[in-house]
Every structure is written in C-alpha cells, then in structure tokens.
C-alpha cells in the first residue's frame, strides 16, 4: 500500500499540529506515525524536520533506538512473543516456532501486511506466562491455538 509522499507529509503535519511542535513531543509524534503507517516513512521524518526542526538523521537515531518504532513496515497488528526468563520456563521457544510456522519469518508482515510477529523482552505479564501482546493487548497465557487463530483471522 504505497502512499503518496505528499499525502504522508500532509498527514504528519496534522499529527504534529495536534500533538505539539516541541522537540519533547517527538516520541509521541513518532508513536502516532508508527500506528498510522506501521513504520516511520522517510516522508514523515522530512515533515518532522520541517515542522519540529529535528534533522532527519536525528529522527532515525531515535527510531532505531526504540523497539516499538521501525524504519520498515510491520504488520497492521503485531504479535509480540515474550522470550524472557519466566516465559521461557513456560515454553516461549515452542510458541515462537509455532508463530514462525503459522505467520512466517519474524518481523516480516504476512497476510497482505495485516500481521507480523516478533520476539520481545519481558512484557510485565510474567504472572500469566507465557505472555504475548497482540495489537497492543495482552494475550496471556499464550497457547499455540491462539497463534493459529491469529493466522486464521487474516487467512
């Protein structure tokens, strides 16, 4: 779904207007851009440079630092599977293998860009291990069946 760069710039200008132009709003702006475009496109970084006076290179420095922001598109819905200590005691590795089988390689959107999955660090849901987030909502405890359902949802 390639978007016209001019449209992107226009839309990002709108997001900046509603969030704030100060440098300290950068992360909040980037969160909104990520949510809308599933990554931070180059055109968005350019709009940020014009409106917030943050150099494009600087914005990329910020994007690459934070796991929830990305340079390349992720799925519209992201399945984050925790592989940290508690969850690995409860079978996180097998769940990641199941995700790979059902949804394809880690980090690559499948189902026409609808879904992608990734491993992640502790989600603070260890009491419900093995834990995952799906589309920002806790999916815990995560069962192989739930991963298959995510796949079928976008069959």
């Amino acid at each position: 779904m390639p978007e016209d760069d001019r449209e992107i710039r226009e839309r990002v200008r709108g997001l900046i207007a509603e969030t704030g132009r100060e440098r300290s709003q950068l992360l909040e702006v980037l969160h909104k851009v990520q949510k809308e475009f599933r990554h931070v496109p180059r055109a968005a970084a350019e709009a940020i440079e014009q409106e917030m006076l943050v150099p494009v290179a600087d914005t990329y420095g910020v994007i690459t630092f934070y796991d929830l922001l990305s340079e390349k598109p992720v799925g519209r819905k992201v399945l984050r599977i925790c592989e940290d200590v508690t969850c690995s005691l409860h079978g996180a590795e097998q769940l990641a293998a199941e995700a790979e089988k059902v949804l394809g390689p880690e980090g690559q959107p499948s189902r026409g860009g609808e879904v992608s999955w990734t491993r992640c660090a502790c989600l603070g849901l260890c009491d419900k291990a093995p834990a995952a987030l799906y589309d920002e909502q806790p999916l815990a405890p995560l069962a192989p069946g739930a991963i298959r359902k995510v796949g079928e949802e976008h069959a």
Binding site: L26, L30, F65, D67, L89, Q137
Partner: protein
Amino acid sequence: MHESVLLRRQTTPALDLGSYLASGGLAGLKKAREIGAAETVRIVTESGLVGRGGAGFPTGRKWDSVRTASDPERYFVLNADESEPGTFKDRVMIDVDPFLVLEGVLIGSFAISATRAYIYVRGEYRREADLLQRCAKELEAAGYLEGLGPEGRALEIEIRHGGGAYICGEETALFRSIEGYRGEPMSKPPFPTVAGLFRKPTAINNVETVANVPDIVTRGASWLRSLGTERSPGIKLYSVSGNVERPGVYELPFGTPLRELLELAGAHDLQAILLGGAAGTFVFPQDFDMPLSYEAAQERHATLGSGALIAFDHETNLWRVAERLGSFFAHESCGQCVPCRVGTRRQHEMLEALADGHGRGSERDLLARLGQVMTDASICGLGQTASTAVRSLLDAEAKGLLAV
C-alpha cells in the same frame, strides 16, 4: 496475617473518582494541603520511606532537595517504565488502584511545588497509560489539581508513552526520552534533584513508592515505622512468577521470611530463585529463611531490587536462565559505553556456550573478570549490574548447589 494496604482495593478496584472518594480516597491529599508542603515532606522523611524502584533512596530527602531548590521551575516524574524482567507489580498497582497512584503523584507534586507532573508509562502498558490518563482527567475536571502548582496555580499532568526500551527506566535516560531523544543515560552528578528533566530540579519516583504516600500522610510517619523492620520500615510488593502454583503480586511487611512468600505463592521443592530481577542474584534453599529486608539482603550479598522473584524447579538449567538474562542485557544496553556494549555481548556468547554445554572451559574465569570490568567501568546501573546474577551463579556452582 498482614492486612493489605497498597492492594486494599484489589477485590473491588476503584476505577472512577466517585468510588475512590467513597472508599476513603484523597484523604492524604486533603491533609497535605492542610499541613502544607514543608510538613508533608517532613512526615515522608520521618516515615523512613525509601524508593521502591530498586535504588532505595530516601524519598523525603529527595523531595526536600527539590522543594528547597532555588529554580522555580521543577518537575515531578512518575516512573512507570517497569521493564525489569520478572517485575509486574507496578502494572498490577495501577490496574487495581490508579487513583491511589495518582494521589501519590499529586501529593509529591504539591510537596515540591512542581510546575508539571510527567507520568512515563512503558509503551507496552497501553491499558495502564489509558487508565491513568482517564483518571487524571477526572481529577482535573473535579478541580483536584487546582492550587497544587507553584504560587497556587493548577498542576498540569502529562502522560508519556515509552518506546520499548528497558534502559529508559533509568532516571536520566527517562528524562532524555521525555525530551525527545534516544534514551541514553547521563553521568551523575549532577543528580536529578539539581538538574533533572530539562535540566531542572526533578523528583522522580517509582509507582509503588508514591502509592505509599497517601497513607503515610494520613496515618503519620509512625504508622509506616510500625510495619517492617527498624532499617526497612513499611511494606513491599513482590512479583512472583516461574515454577509456582500461584504467580502474582504479594504485599508483605519488610522482615517477612522469604519462605513465607514462597509458601503464599505455592512454591514446592525449588532448586533456586532469582531475587531482584535481571540485576538480582540467585538464592538457594539454604538461604530461604532469610528475612526480606534491605539489610538482610545486603548481608547475603543479595538484593531485593524491585521485588521480583522468579522460582526455578530442579529441572531448570540455571545456565539457560543466565543465558536469557545475558540476551536481555545485550539487547538492552544503550551502547554508549564500550565495556557495557561489548561486554554484554561477550557475556551472552559465553553464557550461550555454557547453557548449550559446549563451553571451552575458559568461560567461567572470563565471565568473572568481564563482570568486574563492566561493574567498574560502566556509567549506569545497567552495565554495573549486568553481571551480578551471573557471578552469583558462578559462586553457587563452585559450592555445588546446581541441580543440572
């Protein structure tokens, strides 16, 4: 049996202002307004409350330095970044009593006369961030933020969403993140109380710390001191997970034997626990009678950290656990200092070899030496503690305590 304080609304959470008020909420804020900022800080200092985010710094002293700073612009920051592996008590605290947390923020902001309060919630806690946002709006609409700021102005509250980086829980990294930069820690001094967020005097506190404040102000400093031990007054939340029947958050007075917490959570026949999160230490059954207090932990070269406890049965390969921790640190190092950036990677590689059982024999010695270098030469707590658990495991192995 300890009667819960922080989690008292656990069975019937007060998720709107009406029910919070009906269940005795905001009494602490009312009292703080009556007695004034200086007296509020004095009570918190006298109570002996120390930060629950891991570093254990006295909260009253922190507030007092910001309160008496000469710069009229100052900030209160709530650290809800909770990303220490095995830790989820702040999430549960917010879920069951968001207004109690916010009341603590209001009292703290009033006590230091904050221009603005920032609430930094880890990006993965969407639900909690939304909940706090909605509750803060309710408080604002009902006029409770009026007069809390400098010169009787209303306090402003801003919710910020983390970007999925553990290091942003470190206070100076968190400030950089709010300011719109990569979350890279800065060397201290200057300390946040002098030059914190936007280089202004800043009081930053953990969620659990501020949740203690309303009751301290209402019931007095001696109330907190009536709980816990002489050197660790009060109560603590523990996040218990792993090989236990009832994982969850438990509230206990300091000084309670570790064994009691393990029984509450339904732990049987364990090989070991990891106490204090990724930066914590392994504790073996021979030490399960230790009291859970800062001083008792210190005596055993352990740490309570943020109160995380992960339990392992006899089938668990503890080197595999260490490998997971190593992977975590290698991924979360911000990369600013070489000992930490390179050290955490090398550490992970060696832990992988040990966990897979094809080490070369030199790993143990190297891990110990590397750990020392990272501890000595890293600028922030991440690098300084990235080898703590590993070194406690090396010690335990030398004593023959490992099952697998």
